[in-house]
């Protein structure tokens, strides 16, 4: 499940409350039926990364995972085996005896993810796992997140990478000002409203009024905007035959059709509509 919302919407607060770092002002939170106030039992099958925690810099990844594994009640041997598993998964095996202090931010984040995955929890909670990382670090974490999909677990993630949410999550909840404004299955949200597709038509020569008028007159066209002198943006919601006719009209305009780029309704556009007025993530 993905948690989306602008800054200050309450994403991190929600996840902190779920993991017992904050006490809810009202209501109660139960994880697998156990009240979160019973911290030890409620979180025994939960692995989490909240607020970009920093592992102890003096420790090595092996030290840290030993500490975490023992805290979950794994014996030394099981901790050792699982540490190897997760460190290999995070591509940190060769760094297991290096001090974390010397790691890059992306590597530290991978160490933190490793400790969250160590007990192979049934629930994984990640709060903006790519926050503050450089592009390379983001790519690394993104690969790891894709790998999480193979695990037999529930994933609750708050992130500003909307493509990751649509790729990783089956359902999404958008919140604003502490309230859920939209919740449901990702595919249903994207397809349910039926706003059609957007076509970006690029012409060789300057777009004129005649072409815009002709395109507006095509069936299925709901909106036509000129984006610069050579590109027209057409919002289209019609049949494939009507779409073919639309492209034919552009081709026959005599202005030289260069390309037609089709973009569907995606999570980002939906997100921007719903969180209008707030900055992303």
């Amino acid at each position: 499940m993905g948690l989306l919302g602008p800054n200050g919407a309450g994403k991190s607060t929600t996840l902190k409350a779920v993991t017992g770092l904050l006490k809810p002002t009202s209501g109660e939170i139960r994880i697998q039926g156990v009240d979160i106030r019973d911290h030890r039992l409620a979180l025994q099958h939960v692995g989490s990364v909240i607020e970009t925690p920093m592992p102890y810099g003096e420790f090595t990844p092996a030290d840290l995972l030993y500490h975490v594994g023992r805290m979950y009640g794994l014996d030394k041997r099981e901790t050792s085996i699982r540490s190897r598993d997760v460190l290999e998964e995070m591509k940190l095996w060769d760094w297991r005896y290096k001090k974390i202090d010397g790691f890059s931010k992306g590597m530290k984040q991978r160490v933190v993810l490793a400790q969250a995955l160590l007990p192979n929890p049934e629930i994984i909670i990640l709060d903006e796992p790519t926050s503050g990382l450089d592009p390379r670090g983001m790519v690394e974490i993104r690969e790891i997140l894709r790998g999480l999909k193979k695990r037999d677990c529930s994933l609750l993630i708050s992130t500003h990478i909307l493509s990751e949410v649509s790729e990783l999550c089956g359902s999404v909840t958008m919140i604003r000002d502490g309230r859920a404004i939209l919740s449901g299955d990702v595919s249903e949200l994207l397809n349910g409203i039926g706003r059609g597709v957007t076509l970006e038509i690029k012409m060789l020569r300057d777009v004129d009024e005649r072409l815009i008028r002709n395109l507006s007159g095509c069936e299925g066209v709901t909106e036509v905007d000129s984006m610069g002198s050579h590109v027209i943006k057409v919002v289209f919601n019609g049949t494939p035959e009507q779409q073919s006719h639309l492209i034919t009209v552009a081709y026959n305009s005599g202005l030289g059709l260069m390309s037609v780029n089709e973009t569907g309704r995606n999570l980002e556009s939906l997100y921007m509509e719903l969180t209008e007025g707030g900055s992303v993530a």
Partner: protein, 406 residues
């Protein structure tokens, strides 16, 4: 499944007559084959009739796992004479030799993962070994061990130990420089007095050390953001706090045991013996002082995010003693009450040994005024007061961490 059903198209399908199918009428001319299969398209179908020339054989075979009667598998027609059919009936329907015993047991669980060797699914790999969250007491010990491991990797601890070595050496150098009369102003001329004087910096050092070791235990977790990892683990905050505090306490006690050892070595270089009873009393008082100072510093750290160490040290070294001196000077407090105050325990530990000086405002004043009489020290009363204070401080500290929102 009952076979006595009606086909809506063809009437009674099993040819039965009577109450079984609730139909009246003439019996069918010829008995029909019973329906044997229920098809997935929800229609009954008759099985194909057997060839008329083939009389139906009674089922003499075994009931096979596929639900059919059949012949048992034929024994092997050509068995080697040296291999009589002693094998087992294998699941594949063949006689065969029992599997050879494994020649070598695996030494250890295969390295790598269920992912690489495909031996099991994720769920099997991890959920099979259900783990049990340790008890609260075990988690305190685990947190204690983790914190001790952290201390072992911090240079500040080793620097402190080196300082503990250096301080007696400095005093030994001073003894050579100062005249004997001046020396006796600060300490008795005995082995114990020498130890007391060598440890006379203890009030200041203890406040400084506990402030930086115990006072920073909780704030550093927040400034270094490791608290967000630890507190999201299945561990109560009580375990987290007590485990860390115990580690700080043990380190502090360890450092002062080391300091005592160094002071004894320094004393033995100048004197042949020392008062063991006074030394024992001094050591017990030092333990109590360590408990009080460390718990106070820990409590201060639980309330603050930054600067807890400095506030704690200044409070213990200056603010408390100055207030007490003010109260004593204005007759709000007498000498007996003064000796009950736990924050003056490090001073008392030095004075019991025969030193006249201790590095705190009260200890310094005592050098010249004689505020404290060590022979009248009420150790039992002070013990009770100290324990009450320690429990109170720790309770307040844990309460503050529990209430702390992140």
């Amino acid at each position: 499944m009952s076979l006595l059903r009606r086909d809506p198209q063809n009437g009674p399908i099993n040819g039965a007559y009577g109450p079984q199918n609730n139909q009246f009428g003439p019996p069918p001319a010829a008995p029909q084959q019973p329906i044997r299969s229920w098809q997935t398209n929800d229609s009954y179908r008759r099985p194909p009739a057997p060839p008329p020339s083939t009389p139906q054989q009674p089922p003499t075979g075994m009931w096979q796992p596929n639900g059919q009667y059949g012949q048992p598998p034929a024994p092997p027609t050509q068995m080697p004479p040296q291999q009589p059919p002693t094998g087992m009936w294998q699941p594949n329907g063949q006689y065969g030799q029992p599997p050879a015993p494994p020649t070598q047991m695996p030494q250890q669980r295969p390295r790598g993962t269920w992912q690489s060797n495909g031996s099991m699914t994720d769920a099997q790999a991890h959920r099979d070994a259900k783990y049990q969250i340790p008890s609260m007491f075990m988690q305190i010990l685990l947190m204690f061990r983790t914190q001790m491991a952290l201390y072992s990797k911090r240079k500040a601890i080793y620097v402190t130990l080196v300082m503990a070595i250096m301080i007696p050496l400095i005093y030994m150098g001073l003894k050579g420089l100062l005249p004997a009369a001046a020396w006796q102003t600060f300490a008795e001329d005995s082995g114990s007095g020498m130890i007391g004087l060598l440890l006379s910096m203890m009030p200041f050092i203890m406040a400084l050390f506990t402030a930086f070791v115990c006072g920073s235990l909780i704030p550093s977790e927040f400034t270094e953001r490791s608290a967000y990892m630890n507190m999201a683990l299945p561990m109560s905050r009580l375990s987290f706090c007590l485990g860390k505090y115990l580690a700080g306490l043990v380190i502090t006690i360890g450092v002062f045991i080391f300091a005592y050892g160094m002071a004894m070595i320094g004393s033995l270089t100048a004197y042949d013996y020392f008062d063991e009873e006074a030394l024992g009393m001094s050591f017990v008082i030092t333990l109590l002082a360590t408990l009080f100072y460390s718990s106070f510093s820990f409590m201060m750290g639980c309330f603050m995010k930054r600067g807890a160490s400095l506030v704690s040290m200044v409070t213990l070294v200056f603010i408390f003693p100055l207030i007490e001196l003010y109260l004593y000077a204005n007759d709000y407090m007498d000498k007996d009450a003064l000796m009950l105050l736990p924050n003056l325990l490090p001073d008392m530990a030095c004075l019991v040994l025969g030193s006249h000086f201790a590095a705190s405002p009260v200890g310094a004043a005592n050098t010249f005024v004689g505020l404290i009489d060590p022979s009248q020290f009420p150790i039992l009363s002070c013990l009770v007061i100290t324990i009450v204070c320690v429990v109170l401080f720790l309770t307040i500290g844990v309460f503050a961490v529990n209430r702390r929102e992140m």
